[in-house]
């Protein structure tokens, strides 16, 4: 109060500061990609450690892994903007091949 500001004003300004920082953090696609990747990794670990790794568990891990590979190549590696179109095609083909490998692994396991 000595400086004309109550503790309420101070806490409001802290809240606003934190809100601005969080908004700034989420504005950057690289940060959003990191949060998404960590969440996906945690989900995959949770599925394996805490749940029975059945048909849908394995399927979920394949999808989550493919999603992670896609996010890293597109956002972190900036394949779309930095590389020549030929490399972007190569990366798409590589991700597709990895997904095929995962699914054939899955299909063999299930006797399909």
């Amino acid at each position: 109060m000595a400086y004309g500001r109550s503790s309420m004003d101070c806490s409001i300004s802290i809240v606003i500061f934190v809100k601005v920082m969080v908004m700034k953090f989420y504005k950057n696609i690289v940060n959003v990609a990191w949060i998404t990747l960590i969440t996906i990794t945690f989900l995959a670990w949770l599925i394996v450690e805490e749940m029975n790794l059945g048909l849908w568990g394995t399927f979920a891990i394949i999808i989550l892994s493919a999603l992670k590979v896609n996010i890293v190549s597109r956002v972190f590696m900036e394949v779309k903007t930095a590389a020549l179109p030929a490399y972007a095609i190569f990366f798409k083909a590589w991700i597709f091949a990895v997904v095929i490998i995962f699914f054939s692994f899955f299909a063999y396991q299930r006797g399909l």
Binding site: W45, V48, L53, I61, S65, V69, V72, F76
Partner: protein
Amino acid sequence: MKKNYEDVVINEHLSTDSKSSGVWIFVSIDMAIFLLFFIVFLSERNNNVSLFISSQEHLNITIGFINTVFLITSSWLVASAIQSIRRNAPHKSILLLNLALLFGFLFVFFKLYEYTEKFNAGISIIGNYFYLFYFLLTFIHFAHVIGGIVALFIVRRNLVTSFDEKVLPVAEVVGVYWHMVDLLWIVLFPLLYLLR
């Protein structure tokens, strides 16, 4: 004089492009080789499913998970450092690179701990086909991580000594390599540890 200056600019541009192109070729070949490894692994696994599943149970999923988080975080820090270099913020980029290196070292530490754990349990590369693949694939990847750490140190040194226009292309090239290391681990982790 003007013409000479333009030549210099064009040459510099070309050399940057060729550097960048070089790393993309290297990354593409490396990823293609790893893809072959994955196919061979899958083929061998289909011949010995029970052996692969029983051996897989001896792997520490939690360490694999922690290492995945470390590599993803390190990759994010490198991407953020490159953004900072583009925004002409050398101090922030040095700090981010230091943190990226720290997470790289943590990955190395945990990987060495995992290897030691396996060796102490009497598991080695000649144990069976699964361990042959496990040690071969993870060790090749581990060597890539060491190479990446050295490359990140070079970028860091360049940033500390002189922050000029030559820093960004080198940082981008090293960044692409480091993200590839991350990318390969993202496939190796479910393939070796998770999928059963």
